[in-house]
């Protein structure tokens, strides 16, 4: 048995048994953050807080929700919304957070792309982040099934049909995923399980991995400068805080993080109390009806860009383009051939590539919401082709980039 001295405080008692001082030092006090960063570096914390909100509001919804095709719709729209005190609050918080979390994820992603925060040792940060994006997408989709309204049902029908992989006609696979010929009880039950247990577990594990991948390369900075964190940390600990290029994560940087989180929460609760309707599609307030397709089926805003890449092409090429759009972001660290870690504004042609990609994805998002007719179809097709073209062009653009 290891030797223990009598502890003089609770902290010391815990430290002897759990090494909490070491833990605190490694995870907070001596986890170093560069000084030359801006508010965009707080998006990770904003996301962590939003995930927390989703988890807590989800727990309250779970206490009254009924995963049954006959009861689900009313358990949400009657029991939770009208009977349960403050049920509306949990639902609106959950729905708005689920929508806003994607806005922040996109900002977080494009910040990473803009500053080149996926290169030179930071590849795994990017990849684990993309895994989180995909898992969050699955989480959002499975959650969207649960109220069992018209949009739930038909989104479920359309998305599971994608797994027949076009002309391969893997209808057996689709029926296996649904547990039925069409979305029904088995389908609702398994997506309920995925939404409240399996996917949240995977998300939590991936968040751990995402933090882990950050630990050794540290966060990037506004100039893409390579910082010797050991040397800068030494300066800081010697008291030369002004000279050092880094600060402690906690509580120093975290206080700035929490300031940005506070601004975000004002915006978030403004939406929850006064504009929750943007996250509540009116069509989903009709109960699911397998014999009546709504006139327009469209996903929530955050999936529109990839939906619009599927839509303008014939079936098989559309699926290939859609598949391409889903996985291509993973390859970013390897398609960007330039060794430069620098903001896009200093990287020549890449600057235009970045802004084109951003604008193109916004165009795709807008077109995805509009009915597929006339000029909208054409703009959608062009934007989809531009999206694919941009990714194909990326290695060539970055290959001959001048060193910064």
């Amino acid at each position: 048995m290891a030797h223990f001295e009598k502890a003089n405080s609770l902290e010391e008692w815990l430290d002897q048994r759990l090494a909490i001082k070491t833990l605190r030092r490694v995870l907070a006090e001596e986890y170093w953050i560069p000084k030359n960063i801006n508010f965009l570096w707080a998006m990770g914390m904003v996301l962590a807080v939003t995930f927390g909100i989703l988890l807590v509001s989800g727990i309250f919804l779970l206490m009254y929700y009924q995963p049954n095709v006959k009861l689900a719709f009313d358990s949400v729209n009657y029991t939770i919304m009208k009977e349960v005190e403050f049920g509306w609050l949990w639902r609106h918080m959950h729905a708005v957070a689920a929508s806003v979390v994607f806005l922040i994820i996109y900002i977080h992603m494009f910040t990473g792309i803009y500053y080149g925060s996926y290169k030179k040792g930071r590849e795994l940060i990017w990849i684990s982040g993309m895994l989180l994006f995909v898992t969050f997408s699955a989480e959002a989709f499975s959650g969207y099934m649960l109220p069992w309204g018209q949009m739930s049902y038909w989104a479920g029908m359309v998305i599971t049909n994608l797994f027949s992989l076009g002309s391969l006609e893997l209808n057996g696979l689709v029926e296996w995923i649904r547990g039925d010929y069409v979305p029904g009880q088995a389908f609702l039950d398994r997506f309920f399980m995925l939404h409240v247990l399996l996917l949240p577990l995977v998300i939590m594990a991936l968040i751990g991995l995402h933090f882990g991948t950050l630990r050794i390369p540290h966060v990037n900075n506004q100039d893409g400068e390579e910082i010797d964190f050991d040397a800068e940390a030494k300066k800081y600990l010697e008291g030369k805080k002004k000279e050092s290029k880094v600060i402690r994560f906690a509580n120093d940087f975290m206080s700035k993080d929490m300031f940005v989180v506070s601004i975000f929460l004002i915006f978030y609760f403004y939406l929850v109390f006064w504009h929750f309707d943007f996250a509540m599609d009116p069509i989903n307030f009709d109960p699911a009806d397998g014999l009546k397709t709504p006139p327009h089926i469209y996903p929530e805003w955050y999936f529109l860009w990839s939906y619009e890449i599927l839509r303008p092409f014939p079936k098989d090429p559309g699926l290939v383009a859609f598949g391409f759009a889903q996985v291509i972001f993973f390859a970013l660290p390897f398609l960007d051939k330039s060794p430069n870690v620098a903001p896009a504004s200093r990287r020549g042609t890449f600057k235009y590539w970045f802004w084109l990609l951003l604008v193109d994805m916004i165009v795709l998002t807008v077109m995805g919401k509009l009915p597929p007719q006339g000029i909208y179809s054409t703009i959608g097709l062009v934007a989809a082709v531009v999206f694919i073209g941009l990714w194909v062009a990326l290695p060539f653009i970055t290959k001959n980039e001048k060193a910064v």
Partner: protein
């Protein structure tokens, strides 16, 4: 060294059995997600065709899917191509369209336009003629004809009758 080889052997045996157990668990997990026998067995629908009105779409339900049944007017039958006629279910002198009413693009339900004698899918703009053949993309293939059997003027969905088998042999049903 002798100790190590024994340990390696035990490790391999353990790993082998664990892999076997894992495979078994995967198999069980796969089967657990299969459609239940009760879901599969609920799959026969009988419809009496004698009451159908011409050029009025009837939507029936079979295995949770909508089934389009459309009695064609004599003018529609007279105008249609051989390819279209080959897909007709014929009862007495009447020609019927019988198909699963799901767009072959992504499974939305197209709407019937009686004035144009065609189907329009609202999701992605696909069109089908009155025989369920795709005329405007994105749908890549005609609407599917479900297995059926004729018993007088009654059609039984879910069972393969001689007329269905004939269509299959003729290559009408892919």
């Amino acid at each position: 060294m002798a100790d190590n080889s024994r340990r390696d052997f035990m490790g391999k045996v353990f790993g082998g059995w664990a892999a076997l157990g894992g495979l078994g668990a995967l198999y069980a997990a796969k089967k657990t997600w299969d459609p239940l026998p009760s879901v599969k067995a609920a799959g026969f629908t009988r419809v009496d065709l004698s009451a159908a009105e011409p050029n009025v779409l009837n939507v029936e339900k079979w295995r949770g899917k909508p089934i389009f049944i459309l009695k064609k007017t004599p003018e529609m039958v007279a105008k249609q191509s051989k390819e279209e006629t080959a897909r007709d279910v014929i009862v007495g002198k009447d020609h019927f369209l019988v198909c699963i009413g799901l767009c072959t693009h992504l499974g939305c339900i197209p709407a019937y336009r009686p004035d144009k004698h065609d189907f329009k899918c609202a999701c992605h703009g696909g069109e089908f003629d009155a025989s369920g053949i795709n005329t405007l993309p994105p749908p890549p293939s005609p609407m599917v004809i479900p297995p059926f059997k004729l018993e007088g003027t009654t059609i039984v969905l879910g069972e393969e009758g001689p007329e269905y088998k004939k269509m299959k042999e003729a290559g009408v049903i892919a």
